[in-house]
């Protein structure tokens, strides 16, 4: 039923697709982490005005689908004169979506650090910067890490919709092969395997990191 020679022949396409998925994801997620960190810093530091802007951004980003965000960026904005490449749209879209998720995870991490920990730092004579670097961030990172890893996996998965703006990622290859050769099973098989190869290790490394940085347990 399954044509193995087909799979052997087209596996390289999926490698290319996987590379595209990874490229978009790596840049998108890196940017999302930066956006998230900035937003989390603004929120925890309670900077007026900027804080309200961040709130609005988070709501918009969390409550609209990435696909629609992408369509808007890719097909909508050109009508205003901004023609961005598909790669740019995908990375910006992923960062726009991911930024709010990352911000939430990081903010939760910072808020989970007990006040008494900062107070101890004060009593020990730490400066504000020393307190942030040596006390708050390491502990916040430990609580935020599971959320951040979950977001990384979530964003890689979400990146599958970039095929809609003609980026040749894993989903694109699948749809292509189904459309051209009607080899549905083989394509779906390759699709599942490719995603497992990309996401399983991340998921495993993620839980390993979580355990390693969980100061309270184990």
């Amino acid at each position: 039923m399954v044509d193995w020679s087909f799979i052997g022949h087209y596996a390289p396409f999926f490698v290319t697709g996987a590379l595209m998925t990874l490229t978009i994801s790596v840049f998108g997620i890196a940017l999302a982490i930066v956006v998230g960190a900035v937003c989390a810093a603004i929120e925890t530091a309670r900077i007026p005005v900027l804080r309200q802007i961040v709130r609005v951004y988070v709501e918009i980003s969390r409550n609209t689908p990435l696909l629609v965000q992408l369509y808007f960026l890719y097909f909508g904005l050109p009508k205003l004169g901004f023609v961005w490449s598909a790669e740019a749209c995908a990375i910006i879209g992923l960062a726009f979506l991911g930024g709010s998720y990352m911000a939430e995870a990081m903010r939760a991490g910072v808020e989970a650090v007990p006040v008494v920990q900062r107070e101890n730092a004060v009593m020990l004579g730490f400066s504000r910067l020393q307190t942030v670097v040596h006390v708050v961030v390491p502990q916040a990172a430990s609580t935020a890490l599971p959320g951040i890893v979950a977001n990384v996996i979530f964003l890689i998965k979400e990146s599958s919709v970039v095929s809609a703006i003609a980026l040749a990622d894993v989903m694109y290859m699948t749809k292509d092969l189904i459309g051209m050769y009607y080899s549905t099973y083989e394509s779906l098989f390759l699709l599942i395997v490719t995603y497992l190869i990309i996401l399983l290790p991340i998921s495993i490394v993620g839980s390993w990191l979580e355990r390693k940085f969980n100061y309270e347990r184990l």
Partner: protein
């Protein structure tokens, strides 16, 4: 008001109000802790004991009065500063006062040794090797030399509090503030922690202690203050006398909370069998 020759902690006319609170927690209270002595503060829950320690530590802004150490003014109250946040006291002044809190609040990502050596290395820029040697000596003293490389979560509550004391001591604070440091511990752990505190008192460490362990308070105190609703109800430089014969009715009532009387004798008809010798 400060005499030039007085050494120790002086608190004068302290006024403290929390933002949004209806009334002041303190409306002008004063006391001293002479160098080398231990002042124990007792009082019912919500009376302001923790707040008092926190203002001395600089964790809470004050709205009136002064706090001075060896004649150096640490804090001068200003009205309207309820929301001002922590005191801007410079690091060098801050480290002259040490504090240990109720919760097990070691830095979870550092080892025991790392917790103790962090501040002297980062803040006082002392040499790491020197600091570590001193830290080991302190750990030895509190009976934890063998746990230097353990992470906080591997320690019992009592062990953590002893490490927290070492972490404060290594900065050689002139005054050490202890806020119910045994409230969350099992009795045996209470003992091991309080033994360390008694030991420090013997060595002449100036301390300001809040505790609900009356027996311990009596043993460790040089002076005792009972507060209620932010006011000093009774104070004494003779703890034995305070516990045996409190002068005020309120103190008597309060101390009574810690005593239970047998109120019944069994005269009912059940056959009270002796225990069998089964083990």
């Amino acid at each position: 008001m400060t005499e030039q020759q007085f050494r120790g902690l002086e608190v004068r006319d302290l006024v403290k109000k929390y933002p949004k609170a209806e009334r002041n927690v303190f409306d002008g209270i004063s006391f001293d802790v002479p160098k080398g002595q231990v002042l124990v503060i007792v009082g019912p829950s919500g009376s302001g004991k923790s707040t008092l320690l926190r203002t001395v530590a600089g964790l809470e802004p004050i709205q009136g009065g002064t706090i001075a150490l060896d004649g150096d003014v640490l804090e001068t109250g200003k009205p309207g500063t309820e929301k001002a946040g922590r005191s801007k006291r410079p690091s060098a002044l801050r480290t002259r006062i040490g504090m240990v809190f109720q919760s097990y609040d070691l830095f979870p990502n550092k080892t025991v040794l790392g917790n103790i050596t962090m501040a002297p290395v980062l803040v006082q820029k002392r040499k790491k090797a020197d600091v570590e040697a001193e830290a080991m000596a302190l750990l030895e003293r509190v009976g934890l030399a063998d746990r230097a490389d353990a992470k906080p979560h591997e320690l019992s509550g009592g062990q953590r509090q002893r490490v927290a004391i070492c972490r404060a001591l290594i900065l050689h604070p002139e005054v050490l503030l202890l806020d119910e440091i045994t409230a969350a511990l099992d009795p045996e752990m209470v003992r091991e922690v309080l033994d360390v505190v008694l030991d420090l008192a013997d060595d002449g460490q100036t301390m300001l202690i809040v505790t609900h362990e009356m027996q311990f308070a009596r043993a460790v105190a040089d002076r005792i203050v009972m507060i209620e609703d932010g006011r000093i109800v009774e104070r004494s430089t003779d703890p034995d006398e305070f516990f045996a014969h409190p002068k005020t009715e309120r103190a008597r009532e309060f101390l009574h909370t810690f005593e239970f009387e047998r109120r019944r004798k069994h005269e009912d008809g059940e056959p009270i069998r002796e225990f069998e010798d089964v083990d």
